[in-house]
Structures are given as C-alpha cells and as structure tokens.
C-alpha cells in the first residue's frame, strides 16, 4: 500500500515536471518580440551581427516542426529532423544540465543559478529553521496559556509580524542594525577581506547574514506561530487529550505524547510549501540587503529581459515547488497513518 502510493506520487511529480518543462519553453516563445533583440537592445546591431547572435543561441532553427516562430506565427518546414528544432535541443540540453547562456552575463545559466541558489539556501535555510523553531514554540506557549496575557502578547506580536511589509521591515532593520549594531549593510562578505582563519570567514558571513535572517525570520515566524497556535488549540480540545488527562498524564506529557504530533500535521504542509516557494521568494529581502541570491538574480533578469536566465530560474522554481509538495506528501504519509488509505 505504502509503496504503491509512493510510486504514484513520484510518478505524478515527474509528470508535472515534464509538463512544466514544455510549458516553460513555449511560454517564453509566446512572448512578443525577437529574443535576439530582447537580449541585445542596441539598435546599431547590424543584420549580420543579429544573425550571428541567433546562431549562437540557436534561435535560427525552427521552434518546432512546422513553426519557425510562434509569436508572430510563422510556418516552417514540417519535415525537418525534430532533433534539429529549438524545442528538442532545449530538452536535450536540459538533460545534460545545460540551461543555456545568459544574455546578460554571457555565462552558462546553470552555473549562475547554482551559485545563487546556494547563497539563497544558506539564508533561507537558517531563517526558516529559526522561524519554524521560534514560531512553533511561541504557538505552543500561546495555545497552552490560552486567554492569558502571555497568549495575547504572543498573538499580537505574531499578527503584527505577519502583516508587516517585508521590504519596509527590511529597510527599518537595515537602518537600525547598521547604525546601532555596526552591522554591514549589504552583500554576503566584506570585499577584499583576508581571513585569518575559517572562523573569521564564518563570522564575517554571519555578520552579513544577521539582518536579512532576522527580517526573514520575523516575517515567517508570525505565520507559523498563528497556525501552530490554532492547530494546537484544536487538538487540545480533542477528546483524546481529555482521555489522556483522565489517564493521569501531566501537561508536559500530554503535549509531548499527544498534542504536538497531531498539531504539527498541518504545519508540515505549510512549511514544505513555503520552502518550495521561498527558493525564489526572497526577492525583497535579497534586494534590500544586496544578498547575492536567486531572488535577486531573477529580479535582475526580469529587468534585463534575460530570457535564458528567466527560463532557467522559472524551471528551478517550479521544480522546487513540485519537489517540496512531494516531500510534504511523503512526510505526511510517514507522520499520519491515516493517509495511506486515501
């Protein structure tokens, strides 16, 4: 039963990824304008130079059999070798881990994305970890002290944190932290610094990470706290909690043995989905703190109309959401025995 479900879920995720790959390709071909001109906006480009660029990026080939281009629709020979069309070259390159060449930086998209992704994962990983730990702890305390001043303070704090505009909070913390704590304003490392030891390097990155992590943690902590609180309140009113009390379990034992695990179930889904989206969702924080992450890269690529970068980032984002969903699903199967039968 368990295995069949697992295979089903993985197969479905793979199918979705294939669909996204196809969609991702055609989406960028439906956009108006000549991609060769979108990247290089210099009107002085001669016709020969434009052609050279098209050849370089493979844009001289038909998009797919029968279509030279999709927008505007231009017909082409239907009897060409499909492997010699843009679509199949794109698919083939993907399987080789090649996402194309960035129009803007002229570097392989995969390489740029990979570097940026690690930076983003570092920031988001630490911040999400803190947000989850603190949010869950705060939610548990609030639910446990339901209706007391502790609960109200935690509730108000979380509601405020949750509704604060990220960009605004970031700027405020940036001004505060750089003025009062002497923390760096932007970037990931102090440029030109010679590190005496690996620790000095860790500390330097840590100092740069502090404010963006704090901002990110506050923004997500509120959401986690609110969900954990209401989920735990629900669970605490369940009969099995009352039963446990009747059996002689004390508060701590009830939390540990019964309430927390049940209350965490809805959290698992939300955390997994958040993680999926935040791979690219930290745009605002990365912009405020000049963090060289994926969000910033996407933001820049939009401004520069760097279609290969966007296409790669979009695929990465979609895949991470799908994978996060899959992980949530599988984790759920593991955590909740009831799910297997569904």
């Amino acid at each position: 039963m368990r295995n069949r479900r697992l295979i089903n879920k993985v197969a479905w995720a793979l199918f979705t990824i294939c669909f996204v790959i196809v969609l991702n390709f055609f989406l960028f071909r439906i956009l108006p304008g000549d991609p060769a001109r979108a990247g290089i906006r210099d009107p002085r480009l001669t016709a020969e130079a434009q052609q050279a660029i098209r050849v370089r990026f493979g844009l001289d080939k038909p998009v797919i059999n029968c279509f030279a281009s999709i927008n505007p629709p231009k017909p082409a020979d239907c009897f060409v070798n499909p492997l010699d069309t843009q679509f199949f070259i794109y698919v083939g390159n993907l399987f080789r881990g090649e996402f194309g060449i960035s129009y803007h930086s002229n570097q392989p998209v995969a390489q740029v994305l990979a570097e940026r992704t690690w930076n983003t994962l570092l920031l988001i990983g630490v911040a999400q970890f803190l947000a989850i730990i603190l949010g869950v702890a705060l939610g548990v305390i609030a639910a446990w002290k339901l209706g007391t001043p502790v609960d109200y303070s935690a509730l108000i704090f979380s509601l405020v944190a949750w509704s604060l505009p990220t960009f605004w909070l970031g700027i405020i913390l940036l001004f505060w932290g750089s003025t009062n704590l002497g923390l760096p304003i932007g970037g990931m490392v102090t440029p030109g610094m010679n590190y005496a030891s690996i620790w000095a390097q860790v500390i330097d990155v840590g100092r740069h990470m502090f404010l963006p992590t704090l901002t990110y943690t506050i923004v997500f902590l509120g959401e986690y706290m609110l969900i954990m609180r209401s989920s735990l309140i629900d669970v605490l009113s369940e009969d099995y909690v009352l039963t446990a009390k009747a059996k002689g379990l004390n508060s701590y034992q009830i939390l540990k043995a019964h309430a927390l695990r049940n209350a965490m179930l809805p959290m698992v889904t939300i955390i997994a989905l958040n993680l999926g989206f935040t791979v690219a969702g930290a745009v605002q924080i990365e912009t405020v703190f000049s963090w060289p992450g994926l969000g910033g890269a996407i933001y820049e690529a939009v401004g520069q109309r760097d279609y290969p970068m966007l296409q790669g980032a979009f695929l990465l984002l979609a895949v991470s959401v799908i994978v996060a969903n899959l992980v949530a699903d599988l984790l759920y199967t593991y955590l909740d025995p009831r799910v297997q039968l569904e």
Binding site: L31, P32, G33, R37, A38, P43, R44, A52, R56, S105, N106, Q107, V112, I171, L174, F175, S178, T179, G182, P184, I185, G186, G187, M188, V189, P191, G192, E286, T287, V288, F289, S290, W291, P292, G296, A297, E300, G303, R305
Partner: protein, 392 residues
C-alpha cells in the same frame, strides 16, 4: 573622431590574425591584460570588483593601495552605507535622498552631468502613410505632421515643472537629442520654445485648429479629427507616468487631449519603429561620448531599420550628417553638429523635456582629492581614484 574609436579595440595580430570571428565571440577573456592605473584583483558578479593599484603604471601611480567597487541591491542601502562609513563614496542615489545628505557634515555632494549622458525624449510620429516603410503601419495622427502643432505642444511644455517634480530639481532643460553632457558638441546657443500657453493657443487658433463642437478639445482645420493623441511610454521607466501626467495637464490647457498608457518595452518597440503605429512616445536613449549615434537617429537612412523613432526625414540634415562623419577637423565638425541641432530644434521631431543630472557623494573624513569640478562627474573614474589620498 577620436571618441568614435572609443569602441574599437586593438588586438594582437600574432594571436588573432589566423582566427575566425567565431573565435572572438567564444573568447571569454578570463585573464585580462590592461595598462591602466589599477589591476583587477577579484571579481564577483553583482557583488563587488576589487582593484589593486598597478605599481608599474606608466603615469602617476595612484596614492591608494586599491579600490573596491561594491554593488548594492537598492539605493536606500547605498545611501545608508555612505552614512555609516561602510563605503567612502557612492556613484548614485535616489533624488529623494539628496536633501538629507546635503545636511550631513561628513558628506560632500557632487552634482553634474553623468559620464554616460542619457536623454529622455518625447517622440512624435512624423511618417505620412504614403511614405510608409515596408513593415510599417503608419497610423500616426495627421495633425502631428504639422510643425505648428508640434511648436504649440513645445510652448505648452513646462520643462522647469517637469524637472522640479520628476527629478526633484536635479536636471537641466533639454533642447535636442544631444545632451549637455556631450560637452563641446552640445550647442548651448540655441533658443528654446518658451513655456507660454497663450502663444501656444494663438499658434493653433491661427492655423485653424478650433474646438468646433465645444467639447474642450480642438479639431483639425477640416473639422474631422479631434486633437486627441495616444501617449505611450516604456513601462520600465519610473518617470514615465509622472511625465505623461504633467504633459496631459499643460497640453490640456491648449485643447489637446492625450490617452495615456504605459507599454512593456517589447510591445513599445513593436508599435514604435519601423511600424510607426503610435502618436507620441516618451522614451529615452543612452549616449556614447560621441554624438554621432544620437545624430543618426534623425536621418532618413535609419527609418526602415527602426533606429529612427520619429521617421523624421530632411535632406539638408542628412547631408550635414554625411559631412560630419568624414570631417577630420574637430572645430569644423563641431560647427556641422551644432547646425544639425539647430535644425532639429526648429523641426521638432522630438521635444526633450530635460537632461538628468547625476548626484554622487563622498565622505569628507576619509579621502580627499576627488575630481569634482569637471562638467561630467564620475568619482569612480580612474582619473579620480588615482588622485585621492587619505585625509590626515
């Protein structure tokens, strides 16, 4: 002429002579060779560039050990970095931050034309349907082909107000596509159309553009078409909506209506040129240090290529363009170019609302000796960086 060589590079023939053009395209240039006052020590894309001083420089060796050019994701952070002393100099800032920095005792502001001057322009579609280029649609409003209407629009454009509101005062009134930042090539003797609603109204009245149906919008002399124009701008220009809004107000005072809409740059390109499927566009150009390219934008040759946005065509201007291209005497070339600007201002294929100024700033307590008195400001330029020394 020398500044047209700016983008021509010298290559060692013994290395490149045998190679194809494709080899040049594929060349990544990882190990750079140069001869300037600084050497590239470290480069992290979108993060920073670290330069070390070239101790073997043939000129005067910089007094500093090196320089770091750091990139910030937003301008507020940039200003804060200067305030806290994380950086010693910043090359741009939001105009809204200027007032606050001006009051900071440790900070010196420097205002001037930017090193790579840009120009914001208001483009008129001048292409008559019977002279439409092969790919064109040429749907421009007929009234805009009448110089009188364009003159009236120029008189009804309050450039000072645009500068004050859009640039918070940090700009100078524009004349033609050649900005003041181009130094000697900029013709500073030209007389602009004064902002004067009465003059504008009189021009239109005299030419027979009357509001015959009393709806507040003038009609063409034949009474058929109202003077209602499509006004588009590039969606990635943050100043676009504000310029359009201000124009619609003062132009409205002379009975001219505009339908405003920002367009995605790709869409704008496709309606602009060589389709000529628009009435008026607000857009802009970045410039080389040499005016040749911006001058070419108004030549007849560029109409089918899409570089000419207005479709302006004047044999006299084309002839002057051809002459300046081959003129080797700098002074004579300047004269030709000045004359071309006079023609452009007279014929008004564009109204240029303003030339933006750049504001840079440095900390007075860190380094001294920055070049601040040049007509163009570029504190980050090696010329400046090689002169500065720490404040004692």
């Amino acid at each position: 002429m020398e500044s047209q060589l700016f983008s021509l590079y010298i290559l060692p023939e013994h290395l490149w002579g045998e190679k194809t053009a494709q080899a040049a395209i594929d060349f990544t240039n990882d190990t750079m060779v140069g001869s300037g006052p600084f050497k590239l020590a470290e480069y992290r894309q979108n993060q920073f560039v670290r330069l070390d001083t070239n101790q073997d420089y043939y000129g005067s060796v910089p007094k500093v050990d090196g320089a770091i050019l750091q990139t910030y994701g937003n301008q507020d952070a940039l200003v804060q970095a200067l305030k806290t002393g994380e950086v010693d100099m910043i090359t741009e800032m939001p105009n809204t931050a200027v007032a606050a920095l001006r009051n900071d005792a440790n900070i010196q502001l420097v205002v001037g034309a930017p090193l790579d001057p840009g120009v914001t322009d208001i483009i008129f579609n001048l292409v008559p349907p019977d002279q439409c280029p092969p790919d064109g649609k040429c749907t421009g409003h007929p009234a805009l082909k009448d110089l009188t209407v364009r003159k009236a629009l120029a008189h009804a454009t309050d450039k000072q107000q645009l500068i004050d509101i859009v640039l918070l005062g940090l700009g100078t009134p524009g004349l033609t596509l050649i900005p003041d930042g181009l130094g000697v090539y900029y013709n500073n003797t030209l007389q602009d159309y004064a902002f004067d609603i009465a003059t504008a109204n009189k021009l239109l009245d005299d030419a027979g553009y009357k509001d015959v149906n009393g709806d507040g919008v003038r009609e063409t002399p034949d009474g058929k078409a109202p003077l209602s124009f499509r006004l588009n701008w590039a969606g990635d220009m943050s100043s676009g909506p504000r310029i359009a809004e201000l124009l619609s107000k003062t132009w409205g005072e002379i009975g001219i209506k505009v339908e405003m809409q920002g367009l995605d740059p790709d869409t704008l390109t496709s309606v602009c040129c060589p389709a000529f499927d628009y009435d008026i566009i607000i857009w802009g150009w970045g410039s080389d240090p040499d005016p040749a390219f911006l001058l070419s934008v108004m030549t007849t040759d560029e109409i089918p290529t899409g570089t000419s946005e207005s479709g302006y065509s004047n044999p006299e201007y084309d002839e002057l363009f051809a002459q300046q291209a081959v003129e080797t005497d700098k002074e004579k070339r300047k004269e030709l170019i000045w004359e071309m600007q006079a023609i452009a201002l007279r014929d008004l294929p564009y109204i240029i609302p303003y030339y933006g100024q750049n504001v840079q700033a440095f900390r007075k307590d860190r380094f001294q000796g920055w070049i601040t008195d040049s007509s163009k400001i570029a504190l980050e330029d090696p010329s400046s960086l090689s002169l500065i020394e720490p404040v004692k």
